[in-house]
């Protein structure tokens, strides 16, 4: 896994360099536009990225998956459902990291709807708020965060209705 990540990193970086050099060779001024965009945006976000990485790192260490599973339980009942629609907003990581955790939740008896709500709420991405507000502003970020809870709620209800039932609807 670690090797894979490193390769990924290298791939993205080399691809970036190749594209920029290619455009530069085609048209110097356009190549400069790309280089300038990368340079300016990079230093604009560097401090935010460092802060965000620290937030996510701390969260990962202090709130381990078993703790999350314990807190959320089956995600059943109104309280569990509300928790499943809100708590994951605080989590970082990518879908690659949440699927294994959700499998555990599922094995503990969580309903399909709760799992789907969890994924949706996880899309809230509160640890990235510094980035979101910088590029899209506080109104957008706050409205999006509130709507993601509603989104997660409806998602859970729909998924329970369609997937959880033994009768095949899909």
């Amino acid at each position: 896994m670690k090797k894979l990540l490193k390769n990924d990193a290298l791939q993205f970086l080399s691809l970036s360099v190749v594209i920029t050099l290619f455009i530069y060779a085609l048209d110097v001024s356009k190549g400069m536009i790309i280089a300038k965009t990368v340079y300016l945006t990079f230093f604009e976000v560097l401090d935010i990225i460092i802060a965000v990485s620290i937030f996510i790192g701390l969260f990962q260490v202090w709130v381990k998956p078993p703790t999350i599973v314990k807190w959320l339980g089956k995600g059943s009942g109104l309280k569990g459902f509300i928790l499943v629609c809100t708590f994951p907003i605080l989590m970082g990581g990518s879908l690659f990291t949440v699927f294994p955790l959700l499998k555990t939740l599922r094995e503990k008896g969580a309903r399909q709807g709760a799992i789907a709500s969890f994924i949706t709420a996880w899309g809230g991405k509160a640890p990235l708020l510094p980035l979101e507000t910088k590029f899209l502003g506080w109104p957008f970020a706050l409205v999006r965060l509130s709507f993601i809870i509603l989104f997660a709620f409806v998602m859970g209800i729909l998924m329970d209705w369609v997937v959880e039932k033994p009768t095949k609807l899909v």
């Binding site: 802060a51 990962q60 260490v61 202090w62 590029f135």
Partner: protein, 163 residues
């Protein structure tokens, strides 16, 4: 008054939290720092790649074109286009917001941006096989379809509220 970048405030908060963590448990804080470094190294290359993409669009696509495809006038279709882009975009979540902000600066509507952000984070062609493996085919198909549809309505609502 001294002007302070928002980024600096976040950094200070992060360092204070690290301090509290260190005070409570050293070993865990060490682990957290290791995780932080790993996250940082994973995010940066993807971000650089997305910035190159932004530069490419800057160099070859006019703001007018972006606005005509994803702007307020293109309305519902704009949101759908943006959602489709989000579905196939291979971005990690941290890269989604700079790209979204860039599109917005060039005339894309809030609704389109919201559609893009939702699907870019919640639907990934690359994660589909993994989702099927961990959560099943039925679940995966239903969740991705519902996400696309609900993202559309949520984005529409956001467009109405934020415009």
């Amino acid at each position: 008054m001294n002007y302070m970048r928002a980024g600096h405030i976040y950094l200070i908060i992060a360092v204070v939290m690290l301090g509290i963590s260190f005070f409570k448990e050293r070993q865990k804080t060490k682990e957290a720092l290791k995780a932080t470094l790993k996250i940082f190294y994973t995010i940066i290359p993807v971000l650089v790649f997305v910035f190159v993409l932004m530069g490419l669009i800057q160099a070859y696509v006019s703001s007018k074109t972006i606005a005509s495809i994803l702007g307020q006038k293109s309305g519902i279709l704009g949101i759908l286009y943006a959602e489709l882009v989000g579905c196939i975009a291979l971005f990690m979540p941290p890269a989604v917001f700079p790209f979204g902000g860039y599109l917005h600066d060039n005339g894309a509507s809030y609704g389109s941006i919201a559609g893009f952000v939702f699907t870019a984070i919640l639907i990934g062609i690359t994660t589909l096989p993994l989702e099927i493996k961990f959560l099943g085919k039925r679940f995966t198909v239903a969740r991705n379809i519902f996400t696309f549809v609900l993202a559309f309505f949520t984005a529409l609502l956001m467009e109405v509220i934020l415009r």
